[in-house]
């Protein structure tokens, strides 16, 4: 015991700390994933990006509709004056994956788009909407239009009686032969 250095307790503490440090390094290297990124204030597992890519898509975009509905799509985009031209199909029809699977129809996509709510949601006049956006008033200015709407609004598919959803410009009335419709069209002119 005599030969012990007076600093033995410090050496022992140092050895213990060194051992802990080695253990820490081993555990750290074992626990850190291979793709770990150690950026400043930004550390993460790079592989998680690859995993996130695998999530299935719900909305397909217009291209996915074109595969089966090429003709409708052509009509929709063909007319340069079509106010709805810039719209995506899924804006009104809902996501493609709820309508088709593996190239086969699994549910109607049209139903959702035929309700008046759908038209109203964008076009009913509201103070928060941009001034240049086409909006209709519940109390229509045109007498015939007002009378016509009064009986049907807000239930049913009243808008689509005169307006074609794919090309809604009122002049291109879908039912020109309909007396109701033509009276409105005349009044507008």
């Amino acid at each position: 015991m005599k030969n012990l250095s007076p600093h033995t307790h410090l050496y022992r503490l140092g050895a213990l700390l060194a051992a802990f440090f080695v253990v820490f390094l081993v555990v750290k290297s074992w626990a850190t994933p291979a793709s770990w990124i150690d950026d400043v204030d930004n550390w993460y597992r790079l592989d998680s990006l690859e995993e996130m890519k695998l999530k299935p898509l719900v909305f397909g975009g217009n291209e996915s509709c074109k595969e089966c509905h090429g003709k409708t799509y052509g009509q929709f985009t063909g007319n340069t004056g079509n106010e709805h031209k810039g719209l995506s199909c899924e804006s009104c029809h809902g996501p493609v994956t709820r309508h088709a699977k593996g190239g086969k129809k699994i549910a109607d996509a049209i139903r959702e788009s035929k309700s008046t709510w759908q038209c109203q949601n964008c076009h009913l006049e509201m103070i928060n909407k941009p001034k240049d956006f086409p909006q209709f008033k519940r109390q229509a200015k045109i007498k015939e239009h007002a009378e016509f709407l009064a009986g049907l609004f807000p239930e049913g598919t009243v808008c689509l009686k005169c307006h074609a959803a794919h090309d809604p410009t009122p002049d291109k009335c879908v039912k020109k032969e309909d007396p109701e419709c033509s009276s409105v069209a005349k009044a507008k002119k």
């Binding site: 993460y44 995993e51 999530k55 719900v58 909305f59 804006s91 509201m126 103070i127 928060n128 941009p130």
Partner: protein
Amino acid sequence: MNKHPMTDGQEEKTGTRREFLRNVLAGTIPATVLMVYGPGVLAHREPSELPRGEGIPKAEHYWIYVININNCIGCGNCVRACKAENEVPDKTFRTWVERYIISGEGVHVESPRGALEGFREINAGVRQRAVKSYTVPKMCNHCHHPPCVKVCPVGATFKSPEGFVLVDWEYCIGCAFCVQACPYGARFINPKEHKADKCTWCYHRVKAGKLPACVTVCPNKARLFGDRWDAEAEVTKVFLEDNWLVLKPHLTTDPTCYYVGLGREVI
């Protein structure tokens, strides 16, 4: 005779002062040099710069998001699409739309169910008093300096090389530090998964060459998404006109969601 205590060791004292000054300089000069040229400074990023560093893949795109208030009609298509695309549970929102009604009485902000079903008409009385009103889509701002990333204790939330702020659910422990840190209220704890949830700019869609779901269904081009490095992109053209703003700029989070036509009430 005893020496006077004040005069004792006079020369030594002078030496101490010189030594002291020398020591001070020896400490401060290297420290200053380190601060100016040190490793911390090399890693420092300017605002508006994407993450870069050892092991980080080089970004091919610099994705940004533009929200044009002048075009937003408050239809809520984006909110519904986000719910469908990302299976966002009830009562939680990755994106939502707020309606501002400004009158002499003050500013009224509302977002009924996050505008999942759009907005109702304002009653006639309020309408008459209102000076102006507009709708503002809100979501994660995918900041350049995201406070949510700084507070994550497990490295689960991060800024990706191309600008997405994402959450690695394998590593997230659901501690909600990030939910508190986000100044935009864009994060929440997913009630089903018990993990931090937020807008991902539809990372899976963008990587598949599509636009985020909200941008896809927006009927009036109020939401734009694109590459800041693409000179022809619509999002880039926004910067040609000095008409954009970001939310809470005083917090220096440096968001990459740019708002066009934003009212001062919102900021």
